[in-house]
């Protein structure tokens, strides 16, 4: 692996007049910014602003329009940029898709990125290689069994592994331009700090970091400077000194926002706590859950919180019929509830918005229209006839109701931005008028505008009498929306917190393991 020395005094990364077009659409317009060495610079922008495109241009995945200039450490990368060029110049990526092979071990995955070290007659020198891998992990404070299968790690752990393997050996002082794309998207609050500690270390060593994120609070915490992108153009590049959360939001959106997120507490409480539960869970046991008891009430937004691996997603999947429990009983509207498939749950009136929006929420190659109607085709014709006209009409209605953009129902859903995809998934599940809706990380990786829309929607649904279950690692979101929260810890119900005792601090404490007394 060649390593090019950086020009002294040159910025770690410089872009000038970078343009990118897809057909008629200009996705990047004259993008120019610089990242000084040793600094952490955040790149902020809504979905569709062009953030991901910039990353893909730098990594060589997309070819920018000729005429632009991209340089690392003072060395220009010749267009068309190839990944090798960037790598040799010292650029390292941690993408949202971490690039880990789930069926293989931690050791193997790190070695894929890093090399197996010197070989002895063509064979791997296990001991030496292991020492190297271990030291890399320790740089981030990770003490793991190197033979553990990556597929068994939680999303949070996988992210940390992906970062650890590109950070370099402890003694490696070659300059690095580290580009992190939404690294904390699936990390709970306590583990985010580890990542920040590592990032700060990288910067202190003289390395430079480009931190792409939606999370304004994190950006304010970790970044020295921020660059705001809107509609493919750089709106501003400035230090994070003295700027407020609200100011950033208005830069991102281009308009003033009084409040960033709708708050549940502002709504007048209805008879929320007096209803009979619509779902009861007793003694639920799964691969992580152990003997969980729970009531879910109509008109209530119930939050499920906890560290990665606590069993949140498993609980939701079992409720949704996507997974069978090992033990336990559930009832639904008073009757025994043991769905044998997601379909059974849906027919009962329980719908599910999965955590993995792209692979489990949407059928990618199919159009928006086809996705929206997938839960129930019966109203669109008969068993022998599917009326495309009826389907389009229905799709248009939903697109308008949920403000899905672009509004072309025939567009493949994979081409929509994350926020619009999620709105489409929600529209799909709400179309069949469920009584219970289960949301797993519904706003992960989604821009502020769409998040606010989804939050308003969730509040409205609860107001209409639906029971909403919201599993999330976003403490702010949980604190803003939930009437009641349960915190899971390794499969056990640890704490339950009710409004008005819900606050982000209390929640963060409870999740991180502090003993917070039940507040009713």
């Amino acid at each position: 692996m060649g390593r090019i020395a950086w020009e002294p005094g040159a910025p770690a990364l410089a872009l000038r007049n970078v343009n990118k077009q897809f057909g008629e659409t200009r996705v990047l317009r004259d993008v120019s910014f610089e990242i000084p060495t040793g600094k952490v610079v955040a790149l902020l922008g809504e979905n569709g602003s062009g953030k991901s495109t910039i990353i893909k241009v730098i990594s060589g995945f997309y070819d920018a329009t000729p005429g632009g200039y991209v340089a690392v450490g003072g060395h220009e990368l010749a267009f068309p940029i190839t990944p090798v060029q960037g790598h040799d110049a010292g650029v390292r990526f941690v993408h949202q898709d971490l690039g880990l092979v789930e069926s293989m071990s931690i050791f193997d995955n790190v070695c894929f990125a890093v090399g197996f070290g010197n070989l002895r007659g063509g064979a791997i020198r296990e001991k030496d290689a292991r020492v190297r891998v271990r030291s890399r992990l320790e740089r981030l404070g990770l003490d793991w069994d190197l033979d553990a299968r990556v597929g068994d790690l939680s999303p949070a752990q996988r992210t940390m592994l992906a970062i650890a393997r590109v950070l370099g050996d402890p003694g490696d002082t070659a300059p690095r331009m580290l580009i992190l794309d939404e690294p904390t998207a699936s990390l709970p609050a306590s583990e985010v700090e580890h990542v920040f500690a590592a990032i700060e270390r990288v910067a202190a060593d003289g390395g430079s970091v480009l931190y792409v994120s939606h999370r304004i609070d994190e950006v304010l915490r970790i970044a020295d400077e921020l660059v705001v992108l809107r509609d493919g153009q750089i709106v501003t590049q400035r230090s994070t000194e003295g700027i407020t959360h609200e100011e950033i939001v208005s830069l991102l959106l281009g308009r003033e926002l009084a409040a960033t997120m709708p708050q549940r507490g502002e709504q007048a409480p209805s008879q929320r706590n007096t209803h009979e539960p619509i779902i009861t869970v007793r003694g639920l046991t799964g691969s992580r859950l152990t003997s969980l008891d729970l009531d879910i009430k109509p008109g209530e937004i119930l939050g499920i919180a906890g560290l990665a691996g606590c069993g949140r997603s498993e609980l939701v999947r079992i409720l949704a019929g996507a997974q069978r429990p090992q033990a336990g009983e559930m009832t639904y509207s008073g009757n025994p509830y043991a769905p044998r498939s997601a379909r059974a749950a849906i027919r009962s009136g329980i719908t599910y918005v999965p955590e993995d929006r792209r692979n489990h929420g949407c059928v990618g190659p199919l159009s928006v229209q086809q996705n929206l109607t997938l839960l129930d085709l019966r109203p669109l014709g008969s068993a022998f006839w599917l009326s495309k006209r009826a389907e389009r009409k229905e799709a248009r209605r939903l697109i308008e109701q949920f403000d899905i953009r672009p509004s072309d129902p025939l567009r493949p859903i994979s081409k929509l931005s994350g926020g619009n995809q999620q709105k489409a998934v929600l529209a799909k599940t709400l179309r069949v008028t469920p009584k219970v809706i289960l949301l797993d990380e519904p706003t992960q990786g989604i821009d502020i505008g769409a998040r606010a829309e989804i939050a308003s929607l969730v509040i409205r649904l609860a107001g209409e009498g639906l029971a909403v279950v919201l599993a999330s690692s976003d403490a702010a979101e949980l604190a803003a929306l939930c009437d009641r929260l349960i915190v899971l810890d390794r499969g056990h119900l640890k704490t339950e917190i009710r409004r008005p005792h819900i606050s982000e601090e209390r929640l963060a404490l409870a999740i991180s393991g502090a003993n917070v007394p039940d507040a009713a």
Partner: protein, 334 residues
């Protein structure tokens, strides 16, 4: 596991992609244009032999059964799986038809039993792939080997032709509006298959199962039964094709079968680059099958050697899949 080679359903939706109308048309209708060029080319080159009604009728007649097999194969493909047993199925049922009709079974019974038996083979495939969970490629490959073995067992390696009633031949070859019935049968099957895939909920479930199986399942699609049905349909169509094969030739050859497999896939993949790019579709497959048939017939008429069809089909399949991949990549702007 999805075998669709592109991630878009309909290129008319990519309104922004007006970059170059020529490449757009080429990539979307390329195969159709190729067909027209081939017909034109051979007609000029081999005027007397190629550009005759008799020749076109012969092409359509000869292409009827391969087309039915190609349609058979589209169903599991659209659901995301390969079925490699269709050709052996075809051959096995062809033997069955020869034997039962020679044994005096009424024709109607022979016909029904052919389809039922074919469907049964499809059901066994479905059992292993869906219920047990074996990789479809392996399961159907194994099934095809078993069927070939059974063919040889039953016929002792001999061609079956004794005692096959003459009226069987009429089923396939009686003329109707200038073309043998077999051509019309294949057309009807195309229309029905097209309707099922495009205009029924079942067709939608097939596409969902093939395009995003987990998301489909979580959306309430019964992916397991849907997948099973596609194998059964493929088997039933292969059985029908077997019946028609014996009917058309008047004999059944235990060694025949393999030569139908790859052309079917070549036609299906060629078809996925045209009409509905990125999705296996009926009319695209028809065009694909015709391209192959025209190509081979034209070259044969020009005096090409006996081994040419194999090479031609293989090259066509490689080209078809390559074009498909390249056109997807271009569309996604990479």
């Amino acid at each position: 596991m999805s075998t669709t080679t592109s991630s878009t359903t309909n290129t008319t939706t990519i309104a922004v992609q007006k970059r170059n109308p020529v490449t757009h048309i080429l990539s979307r209708y390329g195969v159709l244009i190729l067909l027209i060029l081939l017909i034109a080319g051979f007609s000029v080159w081999q005027q007397d032999r190629f550009f005759t009604l008799g020749n076109f009728a012969a092409i359509l007649t000869g292409q009827a059964i391969p087309l039915i097999i190609a349609i058979a194969v589209i169903f599991p493909l659209a659901a995301g799986e390969f079925d490699l047993s269709v050709a052996a199925n075809l051959s096995f049922i062809a033997i069955w038809v020869a034997w039962t009709s020679a044994s005096g079974w009424p024709l109607a019974l022979v016909f029904v039993s052919a389809i039922v038996l074919g469907a049964l083979i499809g059901a066994i495939n479905a059992f292993f792939v869906v219920k047990v969970g074996i990789n479809a490629f392996i399961a159907t490959l194994a099934m095809s080997t078993i069927l070939v073995g059974m063919n040889l067992l039953v016929t002792n390696g001999q061609l079956l032709f004794r005692g096959i009633p003459a009226e069987l031949k009429t089923v396939a070859l009686s003329n109707f509006v200038g073309l043998p019935l077999i051509v019309w049968y294949s057309l009807i099957i195309c229309v029905v298959a097209w309707y099922v895939l495009e205009y029924t909920p079942f067709g939608r479930y097939i596409r969902a199962t093939g395009s995003g199986r987990i998301a489909a399942r979580l959306s309430g699609v019964r992916t397991a039964p849907t997948l099973s049905y596609t194998f059964i349909i493929a088997g039933a169509l292969a059985g029908l094709a077997g019946f028609l094969l014996t009917s058309r030739i008047g004999s059944a050859n235990p060694a025949s079968g393999p030569e139908f497999l790859l052309p079917a896939y070549a036609a299906a993949f060629l078809g996925a680059t045209v009409i509905q790019q990125g999705l296996f579709n009926v009319w695209g497959t028809v065009i694909g099958a015709l391209v192959l048939a025209v190509g081979i017939t034209g070259l044969t008429l020009a005096g090409a050697p006996f081994w040419l069809p194999y090479v031609f089909n293989g090259v066509a399949l490689l080209l078809a899949v390559s074009l498909s991949v390249l056109s997807t990549r271009k569309r996604e702007g990479r």
